[in-house]
């Protein structure tokens, strides 16, 4: 068991900064997800922990073992880091059987035949792939390969497990089952896990905590609930789930609530937030949190229904109030051209800037 510490981790390629000043402390046994759009630096960070990318500065530490120290110019090569890593493509060696794939890391660790066989059996049993020990990778389905890849990363009992979008090559149904199974396995083994994905639903479902990244920087670190309910900035509000961004200006900013005026003149009570220096701001609110109401009251406004889309589990509407356009979601169908909606204050987040 070990924790992972990233201190001011910066990774540059030539003039391009891929990751900037990343600070994360992953507790022992924690399941932490790096989430962000492609090119945000999440995989780069993961591979730097593995030692397969060269970090530029900062510190990477697992337990009491320093793997990288930019100041001391000290880098432990990947083969001596003793970390488990599952690749997006699984990277099973095609010329070795399943059992041989698992045997290779044990062989490198000079583990005797008896114990080696024991551990291979154990790891394959763990991922329910024992009957396939003598198969070659090409004889397995995608889901089976993914489980073998996991077994290979676990067979030498690393204190830290890194997963690089391991489920992205599976079809949608299988992916949902696999993530539940993966989380159960991780809880059972209590192995510290870093998981990289661009799929927010996956991240919300499996993680203890999520680090949301964008353009090489960490935007927010928190529990799935924190990230969804209390996004730290408009990027997170936009990237996780989806949000409407309503422009307005600050009227009053208190300790437990704020009052803002939207551009159509509607006044809203919101959670406290920050406005730009000139008082302009943007209110983020999720479509499914906006309620359709029958009576006027605080935080209600009348809107015109412009467009109706049936999404299966919900209906989505594009509505306008003056020059403002936003989306709402309901579980029922609305036929009226003009309706009254309420924007609950507790679901309003106020940011100085719009997402770009």
């Amino acid at each position: 068991m070990a924790d992972l510490v990233l201190e001011n981790l910066t990774i540059k390629y030539g003039g391009v900064t891929a990751v900037e000043n990343l600070n994360i402390h992953v507790a022992s046994g924690e399941f932490l997800t790096l989430l962000g759009p492609s090119g945000c630096g999440k995989s780069t960070s993961l591979f730097a922990v593995a030692g397969l990318n060269h970090a530029t500065s900062g510190i990477i530490r697992v337990g009491d073992k320093v793997l990288f120290d930019g100041n001391a110019r000290n880098t432990v090569p990947p083969e001596r880091r003793n970390i488990g890593l599952v690749f997006q493509s699984y990277a099973l060696w095609p010329h070795k059987t399943v059992a041989e794939n698992l045997a290779f890391p044990l062989h490198l660790r000079k583990i005797g035949r008896a114990e080696r066989d024991e551990r291979i059996k154990e790891a394959l049993g763990l991922v329910e792939m024992l009957p396939y020990a003598d198969r070659y990778p090409f004889e397995l389905s995608g889901g089976q390969q993914q489980r073998v890849a996991l077994a290979r990363a676990l067979v030498y009992r690393p204190p830290l497990l890194l997963l690089d979008e391991p489920l992205s090559n599976l079809d949608a149904k299988l992916r949902e089952r696999a993530r539940v199974w993966l989380r159960e396995l991780q809880e059972r083994l209590k192995v510290t896990t870093i998981y990289v994905t661009h799929d927010q639903a996956e991240a919300l479902a499996v993680s203890d905590r999520i680090a949301v990244m964008s353009m090489g920087r960490m935007r927010q670190l928190g529990s799935p609930r924190d990230i969804y309910e209390r996004p730290a900035d408009s990027f997170v509000a936009d990237f996780i789930g989806s949000s409407n961004f309503l422009p307005g200006r600050m009227i009053e900013n208190g300790t437990d609530h704020a009052t803002v005026e939207l551009i159509d003149g509607t006044r809203l009570q919101t959670a406290p937030g920050r406005a730009a220096t000139d008082g302009t701001l943007t209110v983020a609110v999720r479509p499914e949190r906006i309620e359709v109401v029958t009576a006027e009251g605080p935080n209600t406004l009348a809107v015109d229904v412009q467009q109706k889309v049936y999404l299966g589990s919900v209906w989505q509407y594009v509505v306008t109030a003056g020059a403002m356009e936003f989306r709402i979601q309901t579980t029922f169908e609305i036929d009226a051209p003009r309706i009254l909606v309420r924007i609950p204050p507790e679901h309003c987040a106020v940011f100085a800037e719009k997402p770009n």
């Binding site: 337990g63 493509s89 030498y156």
Partner: protein, 572 residues
């Protein structure tokens, strides 16, 4: 397995991977620079390299240019190279389209025969042409007897160029064939639905896409032409036509008795510069070839074009061409080896004799040259494959800081004509201290051949290496393997088919090589090629044919075995 504990990592006392990087980089640099540096030095010295009192001078170049007939020599070389290229491109490209994309009857076996010349040296080809179409060749005499005159003259620069061009056509053919058969058929389908007829679609869409293949092989064939020794030597010698290579050969060989090192060095530098420029030009012309890349993930068979009744006309033409320029040439060598003399006036079965083979097998020198050839090829190709594989792995799959420069150095021998490689190694082994250990042994031949053909092997390995995902290396590294363990245990086993192909290609190239060895062999280290050169010079045509036949048969047996047993890909 609830307890996943740190097993303590793995300890390695020294970083052997880094030792290997530096060792291989140093060895490659020494081997590639080895033959070039002495030539450059020699070109600017007024006395032989080994003479301590030698002083720098530009006089060698002055002497070279004041040499009578030098302009003629350079003109001959360029004209010969150019003609070689044009002939090879025209015949190779047409054949590729016919075989690759039409319903030409017998296209499969005729395509196979068409590439035979690639497997043997152009020394063998030259001798075969000489036997059939030379001044007293079988076909020439037949034409004179039955037609009154033979309208060809091999002993002219044009004749030489035609022979060289036809010997090189298979190279163009293979590159263009790959391009026409891999072209995405959907592109042609799109042209068809836009209203183009089948010929028009082929002509306007697919033919332009083989342009990179044509350009690439054109420069290659031009280079082959200007660095070719055998054909100018055999056909130019008797009529006094010289090219740069025959000039270098004559002067270099005679250098033992008449010290002409300086002038040879100067000529070699000029040839080296021309070839290096052409290789650079090739790379320059290939820039932006991406717009011709038509290979997509989906594998599909291109449709074949129906030639209709014309296909029999095409068949007659192609068959006559193959029969006259390939089957006749090889057949001439075989028959000549079994007769006392070959003429259309006497049926050959009346002059059959085992004498030529008896002569070869009765002489320890000739037998030794065959044994040496097999050893040099068998052992050399194995060493070469391993060496080239390690270079490719470092260049493409390591974090070695100088991996790009290493690749440049390793591929430099593309610009190194065989005659210069031979001359350079010859200089190196007579001047370098300690080199006398390998001087005049087959070891120096193996080294020289290896250096010369690094690019050939690299070309067989690098594309296969690119097919292996980098996660496989990364997976091994994170599992606890250092770089060397990763490449030897994971990458090389997966690379096995490409390694076999590399071995087979190197074997064939080593086995047919003669130019590079011309300056390097000594009694005891002869190979088939050098012995043939000697016998040709003496005019012993019977034994040359026997030796050539033996070389062709061993090559054929090897190709068959390599394809069957190793599954090696040799020219398609």
């Amino acid at each position: 397995m609830t307890d996943i504990s740190d097993t303590g990592g793995l300890r390695r006392p020294i970083d052997r991977s880094r030792l290997i990087y530096w060792g291989v980089a140093a060895l490659t640099t020494v081997l590639v620079a080895g033959p070039i540096v002495p030539i450059i030095l020699q070109a600017f010295l007024d006395k032989p390299l080994y003479d301590d009192s030698a002083a720098p001078t530009l006089g060698n170049f002055a002497r070279l240019f004041s040499e009578p007939g030098m302009a003629r020599v350079f003109f001959n070389t360029l004209y010969f190279g150019g003609l070689t290229m044009v002939i090879a491109q025209v015949f190779g490209a047409v054949m590729a389209v016919l075989v690759g994309r039409t319903n030409l009857p017998g296209r499969k076996w005729m395509g196979e025969i068409f590439i035979w010349p690639l497997f043997v040296s152009n020394l063998v080809m030259a001798f075969g042409w000489f036997t059939m179409y030379g001044p007293s060749g079988f076909m020439t005499l037949a034409a004179k007897t039955y037609l009154g005159a033979a309208p060809w003259n091999l002993y002219s620069v044009t004749g030489m160029g035609v022979v060289a061009g036809l010997s090189q056509a298979p190279l163009t053919y293979l590159m263009c064939l790959a391009a026409v058969t891999k072209a995405d058929p959907q592109l042609e389908d799109a042209a068809r639905s836009a209203g183009a007829g089948p010929f028009r679609a082929l002509w306007s869409v697919t033919i332009p896409m083989i342009r990179p293949a044509v350009i690439y092989s054109a420069v290659l064939n031009f280079v082959v032409g200007i660095e070719m020794l055998a054909i100018p030597l055999l056909f130019g010698g008797p009529s006094g036509i010289q090219t740069v290579t025959t000039f270098l050969y004559d002067k270099g060989i005679n250098a033992a008795v008449r010290p002409e090192y300086g002038i040879v060095g100067a000529a070699a530098i000029i040839l080296l510069v021309i070839v290096a420029f052409l290789v650079w030009l090739q790379g320059y012309l290939m820039q932006g070839a991406g717009r011709f890349v038509t290979v997509r993930g989906k594998a599909s068979r291109p449709s074949t074009l129906d030639l209709g009744a014309w296909r029999w006309v095409a068949f007659a033409g192609v068959f006559a061409f193959i029969a006259l320029t390939i089957i006749a040439v090889f057949g001439g060598i075989f028959i000549r080896s079994a007769v006392t003399f070959l003429t259309p006036l006497i049926p050959f079965w009346k002059v059959l004799t085992p004498g030529n083979f008896e002569l070869i097998f009765g002489s320890s020198t000739y037998v030794r040259s065959i044994v040496n050839s097999v050893v040099v090829s068998g052992v050399g190709a194995a060493l070469g494959t391993f060496f080239i594989a390690v270079i490719a792995l470092i260049a493409r799959r390591s974090d070695f800081r100088y991996r790009r420069p290493l690749e440049y150095v390793a591929l430099f021998p593309r610009s190194l004509p065989g005659i210069i490689a031979g001359l350079g190694f010859f200089y190196a082994v007579i001047t370098l201290p300690g080199a006398e250990l390998i001087r005049g042994t087959i070891a120096v031949l193996i080294l020289a051949f290896m250096v010369r053909y690094i690019p050939v092997g690299f070309g067989a390995i690098a594309p296969a290496l690119a097919q292996i995902g980098e996660e496989l290396d990364r997976g091994a590294r994170i599992s606890g393997a250092d770089w060397w363990t990763t490449v030897t245990r994971i990458i090389l086993p997966i690379l096995k088919p490409a390694l076999f192909s590399c071995y087979a290609l190197l074997f064939i190239h080593f086995f047919k090589e003669y130019v590079t060895a011309a300056f390097l062999y000594q009694p005891g280290s002869e190979i088939i090629g050098t012995t043939m050169l000697q016998l040709v010079a003496q005019g012993d045509n019977g034994p040359v044919s026997a030796l050539a036949t033996i070389q062709v048969l061993i090559t054929a047996a090897f190709v068959l075995l390599a394809r069957r047993l190793l599954g090696a890909k040799i020219y398609g």
